[in-house]
């Protein structure tokens, strides 16, 4: 499939996500909400884990993996990178490093949530309709 055709297809696809779809009218909102709830749950779990004297790093690994995965899927690059940070510290069994990394994750998540809130706010949503570069 040539580039122009692919671009058109992509544009239509992105546009369709914002348009009313009878089977799922609130797709974008739904996915964003799901992601945020999930992310907050995981961040809380990570913090809880790090609160223990003996940190269960493999458990931590599993949570970071989940968060990194969904961040990547939803396109939250900065958050994904922050997760990679935590992954690294966790691999090194570095508790202090993990605590710092979680701070960064929390920051990035807060930034992201603000962006999402702006996105879901009606007025901004319309002006962000994909007519520009994809």
């Amino acid at each position: 499939m040539d580039l122009a055709a692919l671009k058109t297809q992509l544009k239509n696809f992105v546009q369709s996500m914002f348009e009313e779809d009878s089977t799922n009218p609130n797709f974008v909102e739904e996915v964003i909400t799901l992601f945020c709830n999930d992310a907050e749950r995981i961040i809380n779990e990570i913090n809880r884990n790090l609160g223990y004297q003996n940190v269960d790093f493999s458990n931590l690994d599993s949570y970071v993996h989940q968060l990194k995965g969904s961040s990547s899927s939803i396109g939250a690059n900065r958050l994904k990178l922050a997760c990679a940070n935590l992954r690294q510290a966790s691999d090194e069994r570095n508790k202090e490093g993990c605590l710092q990394a979680v701070q960064l994750i929390t920051c990035e998540y807060c930034l992201l949530r603000r962006k999402f809130q702006a996105l879901l706010h009606r007025g901004v949503l319309l002006s962000l309709r994909p007519t520009k570069n994809e």
Partner: protein, 185 residues
Amino acid sequence: MGMAIDRDDTQFHVLAVDDSLIDRKLIERLLKTSSFQVTAVDSGSKALEFLGLNNNDADDDEEDEQRDSNTESVSSDEDQDHQDLGLGVNLIITDYCMPGMTGYDLLKKIKKSSSFKDIPVVIMSSENIPSRISRCLEDGAEEFLLKPVQLSDVNKLRPHLVKGRSKDIDSSHKTTSTRLITSGN
């Protein structure tokens, strides 16, 4: 709506397997936009269940009935229905990292099954590990997609589906008649 959808006369049915709800929703959307019919499940064992494959893929039906009469609601009629459903799947797309049965385990089980070994299997992963990728491809996966899955990736799947369907039609006659003989004793 003005969408340029790639229309086929026959709709292909994709079975998507991923333990992450978000990933399931996204892949489902990607596939539906490309005019595929989608069934999404959250584990390898649910995928096998959907296909009508018991976890051990036992050929001996009697053994199945004795095993667990509660969960094993597979009477000979339902078995036939599952088989029909299973035959209706044209492609399986699965995440690699899943608790319990990994995507790789699922791939192996499907390739071992006489009824389903010809269904193309595609594996997705968020991790770019070359040895993992080559192992999956060597053991029968048609493609290995890196997450996040893009629309262009989904476009790559179509040729595999067409190939799978023509094989399916040939083998389905054979397997259906075999099932009829062995089930419902």
